[in-house]
Symmetry: D4
Subunit: 236 residues, 8 copies
Amino acid sequence: MAGVSPTEPRPLAQTLDLGFARLDLGRLARTGDPETVLAAGKSPDEVVAILRELAAHSQGRAVLATRCADGTLAACRAAFGERAVIDGRGRTVVLGAVPQPLGAVAVVTAGTSDLPVALEAVTTVGVHGSAADLVVDVGVAGLHRILAEQERLARADAVVVVAGMDGALPSVVAGLVRTPVIAVPTSVGYGAAFGGLAPLLAMLSACAPGVSVVNIDNGFGAGVTAARIARAVARG
Amino acid sequence: MAGVSPTEPRPLAQTLDLGFARLDLGRLARTGDPETVLAAGKSPDEVVAILRELAAHSQGRAVLATRCADGTLAACRAAFGERAVIDGRGRTVVLGAVPQPLGAVAVVTAGTSDLPVALEAVTTVGVHGSAADLVVDVGVAGLHRILAEQERLARADAVVVVAGMDGALPSVVAGLVRTPVIAVPTSVGYGAAFGGLAPLLAMLSACAPGVSVVNIDNGFGAGVTAARIARAVARG
Amino acid sequence: MAGVSPTEPRPLAQTLDLGFARLDLGRLARTGDPETVLAAGKSPDEVVAILRELAAHSQGRAVLATRCADGTLAACRAAFGERAVIDGRGRTVVLGAVPQPLGAVAVVTAGTSDLPVALEAVTTVGVHGSAADLVVDVGVAGLHRILAEQERLARADAVVVVAGMDGALPSVVAGLVRTPVIAVPTSVGYGAAFGGLAPLLAMLSACAPGVSVVNIDNGFGAGVTAARIARAVARG
Amino acid sequence: MAGVSPTEPRPLAQTLDLGFARLDLGRLARTGDPETVLAAGKSPDEVVAILRELAAHSQGRAVLATRCADGTLAACRAAFGERAVIDGRGRTVVLGAVPQPLGAVAVVTAGTSDLPVALEAVTTVGVHGSAADLVVDVGVAGLHRILAEQERLARADAVVVVAGMDGALPSVVAGLVRTPVIAVPTSVGYGAAFGGLAPLLAMLSACAPGVSVVNIDNGFGAGVTAARIARAVARG
Amino acid sequence: MAGVSPTEPRPLAQTLDLGFARLDLGRLARTGDPETVLAAGKSPDEVVAILRELAAHSQGRAVLATRCADGTLAACRAAFGERAVIDGRGRTVVLGAVPQPLGAVAVVTAGTSDLPVALEAVTTVGVHGSAADLVVDVGVAGLHRILAEQERLARADAVVVVAGMDGALPSVVAGLVRTPVIAVPTSVGYGAAFGGLAPLLAMLSACAPGVSVVNIDNGFGAGVTAARIARAVARG
Amino acid sequence: MAGVSPTEPRPLAQTLDLGFARLDLGRLARTGDPETVLAAGKSPDEVVAILRELAAHSQGRAVLATRCADGTLAACRAAFGERAVIDGRGRTVVLGAVPQPLGAVAVVTAGTSDLPVALEAVTTVGVHGSAADLVVDVGVAGLHRILAEQERLARADAVVVVAGMDGALPSVVAGLVRTPVIAVPTSVGYGAAFGGLAPLLAMLSACAPGVSVVNIDNGFGAGVTAARIARAVARG
Amino acid sequence: MAGVSPTEPRPLAQTLDLGFARLDLGRLARTGDPETVLAAGKSPDEVVAILRELAAHSQGRAVLATRCADGTLAACRAAFGERAVIDGRGRTVVLGAVPQPLGAVAVVTAGTSDLPVALEAVTTVGVHGSAADLVVDVGVAGLHRILAEQERLARADAVVVVAGMDGALPSVVAGLVRTPVIAVPTSVGYGAAFGGLAPLLAMLSACAPGVSVVNIDNGFGAGVTAARIARAVARG
Amino acid sequence: MAGVSPTEPRPLAQTLDLGFARLDLGRLARTGDPETVLAAGKSPDEVVAILRELAAHSQGRAVLATRCADGTLAACRAAFGERAVIDGRGRTVVLGAVPQPLGAVAVVTAGTSDLPVALEAVTTVGVHGSAADLVVDVGVAGLHRILAEQERLARADAVVVVAGMDGALPSVVAGLVRTPVIAVPTSVGYGAAFGGLAPLLAMLSACAPGVSVVNIDNGFGAGVTAARIARAVARG
């Protein structure tokens, strides 16, 4: 595999070349957010190696891997032990200390099955410097559930709404709050939900303004956006 | 055009052959609902001819044409005058007297732009023997609007919910009522609504049970189903 | 996993918060139908816990779990023993006594492979208070099969038609009966059936009025709607 | 537009080069069917020119243009006068004498709106050397209509079934006859019919064997296939 | 599972009710083709039971099961031994003697990977009373391969063309032969072939007339149609 | 049109019922944003009537109509004269004074053809209380164009990126800035852009975090979200 | 329209800012190809203005506008007179002298209706510095047509193949030549061709290697790629 | 399985018939590229047999198998030992000596997960007679990575760009280089990436000219095209 065998890392300007990956060490300075490892499509060894290098260049600040399969979670547990916080349900690994939180993000789910995606968002918010408040199972089939939580929503600087099936919850929430709503469609559902297509299209067509949407099951992306908002608002 | 030129109507058992159409005169006896004319794809002359024949065989009971283009509405006005009730917005023509209503159907719309489809449903309910109550513009972006109408919903034997965009309203309504909810997705919306695909998929994936769905913009189909239910309940 | 660990259940108004789920105890009073557990996406332990809590708040009336994987069926068998009725083919668990049936629902399948979905509908009808009559394998390729069963169809207050492949059966049935037809497309078929898309679109485009459609393989949804109709008709 | 200006026709082996088109004069000898002009996407002048050249090389046998817009029909009328048979509804032009028919093809439509496609098939069958029998408006919502025509179907060597919406008719017909059924989905319908996608998928998933399918609205293609079968059977 | 437990078979007119299936014993008399078992979606026991019943009512003529999984093949081998002909690649089981062949069908594949589908077609042709000639791996990337087989194609009464990927072969073949071409798209290919969608759409849009199309991977359907044609031509 | 004729407005709690529309007067208090008129699907008269009522209840603050067809723009010009600011390219009407801006939003387009959507966003940002800076035609085919504008991007509290075709610009921008990026796919492009589907999917799959997406051509939705962020950050 | 009114052009490094467009004057030096105007989505005045500015900065070398509507063609004729070469069928405007051609490109069409796209490619090849040879109407339904032109194909350095419907021609051509084949799917066809989707998917799944694909109807893109290849080969 | 059992190979003109496959031995002479084995859909034994035959007829020049599953790789290792070069990550087997390289191809990936596809391209380029230079993980989220490699890109005669997710990299690269860019969308990504559909559509809609696209994950196809270009340029 000429050209991709891991030779000695060559430091380019703010780039660390591992042969199979080219780490963007300047991302934190440029965007305020550190580089994250999307573990899907990488071997457990590659994930461990990248996390280790990122941590070595992060001045102790937490680095994050998402979408870790069981083998990758085990490899991280073996490699990092107590230094890593591992969430088997949200499939995340956090290595290093999360920053002091600035601002607050509410993470709301329509159903119980949306929890793994919501947990990825909760962890991401923490690593990216804000505090997450998780509100579970408040789908629109029983409206009193979300209406009973309006105060918690009002305390947040941004609201992440995680829903599969009909994807109706973001429209309802956006009609109740003053903050941006970041909607996360999930692959929860079957048949005509088409793996998340139904809630994705519904959320993009939300009848209440103030809703923007991330990819299906992308708790990470929603968490980054929400944390950017909450941090900025808290800083003023 | 051998074989399709309108020769003298040949009466088959409960069928009237106009050459270009074969009317199912037994439908009323068989299903309780008279045959209806879907005007789309037929010439104004054909629609007038079919309505006239259906009326001649209906013992004075109303017959209905739906999805009439402007030319067809004008042709019906010219042909039938006062005997026809013509709704330019719902694009329906009713010829003859509607039956005495049995039971009640609520027809609810999420927005103002859903009105034409809702009006098709309202007219259909009447022709098919039940009474319709129209509740307009109570979409989920302002929840208090639908919550304020719960009593009207509770008086109905079936609820038709007409919504485009995110198609969220049927899930909310079905969580509030005891009757079947017939959901009608509309082509209202743009972009990722994909001509009604978004609300169609969302409604099929509704998170509240008791929802069934008809074709996009199919106020007629929803009206027939709702009237069948309301009539049966009223008859006991 | 702060916020989702099962602490002591907090009773909100008609809501029971299990941490990972928020049970809507008011649903029965509000809609006439008890809350049901969609087991897909939940762990066996979660399903058992939710069923137990729902049963504890249902005054002995049956509660239902659908789409149970083998592990969940086993966990329910271990937890509830004789108190639960478990259908391995329809993948349902019923805990508690089903109500005295009101009215009748015919559940019709086009083919043998549609049976699991039909069985989910049959069980749902029973739990929701009506009686189901199952008519199997009467697809339109041999018309005499459905024509021979017209009397059974005529005895029902609502007809559920379960079909995959071309989804042609609901159009045929709706031309023969006076009751609403609830069509259930199934994922039976291959290639251009696209996992149930072909019968779904065909049923939404049914050429006979009186047909409404639920999600692919959604025997549960069809059963709830049909039982609502049959109960209402029986009560008058 | 160097290279495409109509210079003098260069005869290649069985090919006639008009600059903008290259006519396959050997097709009749090779396949038994003469080359046909698909008028869509060609200017009226081009269609007239191609028809004229094809007729000049066909020994008086009829040549056919399909999908002619109004302007093309008018140009053909002006150019060919009585020598052309023009069908404004099926949008075909036939120039020259149709062959003596061999065998018989039944062309069946589900509804009145399917007529234009059926007429394209009828004309094509004639030009390709067989006799067509047109059976109109026998959709499955009123089964007695098709059941009453079984004898006409039984007399055919091949059956073309033209249907939009749910595309259910070919499955029903194929369960009643011994001949191949060529199914033509039409763009009749709206919403979830998606311009003919619903009947196309349904027909491809037909639950009765013996059905093959052509493109949406492709009466021509069905006619060619059916005529090939009928001619071959008649010849034995 | 009231209503579906296999009680004693009730003979309806030409129907045999096994509880879980309703066999259409009149199909052979009505359509010339015996009922076939689509094994997918049925348990091995069900397939064995249906084959046994069909054979008992077929006067010794062969009956066919298609799409048999390994377990079903094994169950048939155990149940029927030498009396069944089992093809593990085409996934078919034939029980009983195939009829004396009438007419000939060429079955052509574009590539080696299309063989399983072609073998299903070959077996189906035999069971349905005609003779199959298999021509393998003559895709259009090397045109001389199909051009070298033109004589074999010319001897057939119908040609089945099996192709995945670009689905180009039917257009080429239909330009070379006088018989109907039945095109079978296969799921061979990856990426933008989308499980057979690419060749399906390409074949439906074939630029040569005389092509009709069956479902993706549906060698059975193509075989039935081709055999119907070949038998009829041979009988004259 | 019983039930929808505009009778005297009935004031419900914070709702104004015009018969054909039910205005949500409490939206400003509840969400910080006033109700907006989506003119598509409404008649010019309806738009004028709704704008007039909204303005009458807004204490002089600007109200907005979007997606106004030419007839609606003309009707607003006739009805409101100098009091309305009308943008024929962005298809917006603003009635009343825009608020004093808080914070700043950069609105960036990939190409010239994206301008109408960007102008809708610019106007929306102003009506919703923030200041917009428009950066035009900086697509990724010439990277120096966006790199030359990094300072302007850095001054914004949120960045709206409007792009059709490949939808590549949001990924590039999100790698350069610290603020949330709201991506707006446009229907600019042809063929495989599928009316905006290509950039929509690409943006949802953006390889840089911090991107959320709104509906195709939805400059309004992006403007509301961006203004909510900018206002909140400016307020601290 | 603050911010987009054309003020005095501000020269950035190799960029010319017209307010509504930002011309990439460095593209020729950077990529060897001058910037082109995609006229779709721009007003006639904008196209004229951009062409004029590009010409003023091109040292007399030809500049190109594609996809010009009739109004834009007329505006260019009025503005540039004899200096522009205008092709109404290919919808292109060329202003200035085309370069001396290097290398040769064959542009091949499957049918007559593919001509407009092929002409766009022919003109693009010329403007981008190579010579085009147009071969028309050699689709695979009559194989002898393309086989007769093999020598012309062999003289080219790259082959552009333009085809709609089944998109079969590129696979055939790529099996015959040594050069790269650039395939252009066209929107020619109907029904299941889905506006070019069928040939697009077929070409992407071409069974012969050496085929790459551009967007539907994108004669321009194919021309640029082909000219890049031909120029490079000619230069060696 | 009459007709497909491997009898003695029959040599047709430049074709070798193995019964289950028909090898196109004339491809090298005709197109400059030897026949390759697409291993997917073939058994390990078949792949070994075909490779052996191809090698026996290739005068020592390397032959290639792609998309080899683990079992096929093992079978090749067992059959060919040291004579084969096997890449488990790119899933290729090369048997025989690769030609002396002519010209150069840059193979560029957006991310680490795109490596397997890029390795297939690298190997293909070598077997097809050119030299590959692999540039890994230079996606647009960190633009400095690709900008730092511009010199390597400039040394290539063709550039292959491999990217999943948003597919943005080809547009950026095509704006920087003078050579054709062959874009390879990958199935890397999730949700709205839809298995490679998102980058496929984005690349087809690339906003920079000079980009052509191959099938999802088709490193082989890109490699063949790129090598054809590089060889031709090197030969002049």
